[in-house]
């Protein structure tokens, strides 16, 4: 499994520093990413996914990562079925696992709806189904519990607990019940692993 490396990373937005000379090695595992609002949690995840480039330093970037995040905007006029077909075209999903997740999340009735017509919760479910059934090494979940109903929260907790993939999770509301997670903390423009 791929470890994620940050070597002397510096990054700032409009003159405001987010990371200054940060170095860290994140070995394969399940991590909960903590930090105050605006500390750079989503930025760090986007950096690992190759969506944000640091101003200086070297970072491990996962090509075609599995990510659930608000930064992912899907065209509203694509049907759910068309989105699945696109993922199949690029062989990004395990089809059997996807079918299983569709059933578990109770998403079967929405396959022919357009993305724009889905409710906020169902949009989140779709992003989760796509990422959880993905075949990338790491799974990045940025506020993935947002908008989910109680049954779906239980399903997602179950998937996180049983997954063998390394996971990085941002969960401000602390909805994730899986307790075997290590903690990563962003503080004072730096990143540390808490034991």
């Amino acid at each position: 499994m791929t470890a994620l490396n940050l070597q002397n990373i510096s990054l700032s937005f409009s003159g405001v520093p987010v990371f200054t000379g940060t170095s860290c090695e994140i070995l394969s595992g399940k991590y909960r990413l903590l930090g105050a609002n605006g500390s750079g949690k989503s930025t760090l995840i986007n950096m690992f996914c190759g969506l944000v480039q640091p101003n200086s330093g070297v970072v491990t970037q996962i090509e075609m990562a599995d990510l659930v995040s608000d930064t992912l905007v899907i065209p509203p006029d694509l049907s759910v079925f068309a989105i699945f077909s696109l993922y199949d075209k690029y062989q990004r999903n395990d089809k059997n696992l996807r079918e299983q997740l569709i059933a578990d999340f109770g998403f079967g009735d929405y396959l022919y709806k357009t993305y724009g017509n889905l409710s906020q919760g169902n949009k989140q479910k779709l992003k989760l189904i796509l990422a959880l059934s993905g075949n990338s090494t790491w799974l990045f979940l940025d506020e993935a519990f947002n908008g989910l109903d109680a049954a779906s929260i239980e399903v997602l907790n179950g998937v996180i607990a049983s997954s063998t993939r390394p996971i990085m999770l941002v969960d401000h509301a602390q909805t994730c019940s899986f307790e075997g997670m290590k903690t990563l903390r962003i503080e004072n423009c730096g990143l540390s692993i808490l034991e």
């Binding site: 969506l51 480039q53 930064t71 992912l72 696109l86």
Partner: protein, 272 residues
């Protein structure tokens, strides 16, 4: 099944067409008016560029014209195919595929430039120099598109910070009317140039009518877009101050009214 990039691109073009019917109609009229002009100038820009005579003035004028044409198509493409879906495309299909598709899409969208270039072949002798110049132009475009794609990808998700509501409104208005300004301006220029070459007419009268009519249509369209844009920010403005929305709306109305009167007076000034 289409690939993701053309699929997203087609969906954006479709929604742009549905939301900008007037603009698409003006574009069609512009293309119709472009033809007599192209015939008048004997499609010379491509010819002069392909000649590759770096020391002559027509060469640099042709380079400027083709460069402007190429810049306009690229800016329009960038405006229509908004980068907000790029993150998703990159995560699904990978960065390499995205870069290749983006460059190819921009290359195809620069049809007017290629048309000028290739028709220049009709007047040029096909030799090593001509082909080298053509390949250099294509390579230059591809490098520019690659740079643009990388730059755009880095900028996805980072929004500009506005320090005042006026700044936000001004930029959002300018963004929404920019294409109209460009296209109407280009159409009016074409109209004027074409009509200026038609003999046996009172040129001054035609110029005044074209200027006045074009300006009125342009201003009315821009006013409609601005009012529509203002409606989007309505609740936000009302929450700041109850009278802010109505006063901004009234200011736009007065400004457009004044600007519409100018062409009428300019008609009198021209003694038409």
């Amino acid at each position: 099944m289409r690939s993701i990039y053309p699929r997203v691109e087609r969906s954006l073009f479709k929604s742009f067409k549905a939301n900008n019917k007037a603009l698409v109609n003006v574009l069609i009229i512009t293309l119709i008016f472009l033809q007599p002009l192209v015939l008048l100038f004997n499609l010379l820009p491509g010819y002069f560029v392909l000649q590759g005579d770096f020391l002559s003035a027509p060469f640099w004028l042709a380079v400027f014209l083709l460069g402007f044409c190429s810049y306009c198509t690229s800016a329009i493409y960038h405006h229509v195919v908004a980068p907000k879906y790029y993150s998703w495309i990159v995560l699904l299909a990978g960065k390499k595929r995205f870069l290749i598709r983006y460059c190819w899409a921009q290359f195809k969208f620069a049809v007017p430039t290629w048309l000028f270039m290739f028709i220049g072949f009709v007047y040029s002798e096909l030799n090593f120099k001509t082909i080298s110049v053509l390949l250099a132009v294509i390579a230059l475009h591809l490098v520019f598109y690659l740079f643009l794609a990388r730059h755009t990808l880095q900028k996805v998700g980072s929004n500009k910070a506005y320090q005042s509501v006026t700044g936000l409104l001004a930029i959002s208005f300018i963004k929404s009317v920019l294409l109209h300004l460009l296209l109407y301006g280009f159409l009016m220029m074409l109209l004027l140039t074409t009509l200026a070459f038609i003999p046996h007419f009172n040129t001054k009268l035609i110029l005044a009518i074209c200027l006045g009519g074009g300006l009125v249509v342009l201003l009315v369209t821009i006013a409609k877009i601005m009012m529509g844009n203002l409606r989007i920010h309505r609740s936000f403005l009302i929450l700041i101050h109850p009278k802010l929305y109505t006063s901004v709306r009234a200011s736009i109305g007065v400004a457009v009214g004044v600007l519409i009167i100018i062409p009428i007076f300019s008609g009198f000034w021209l003694d038409v």
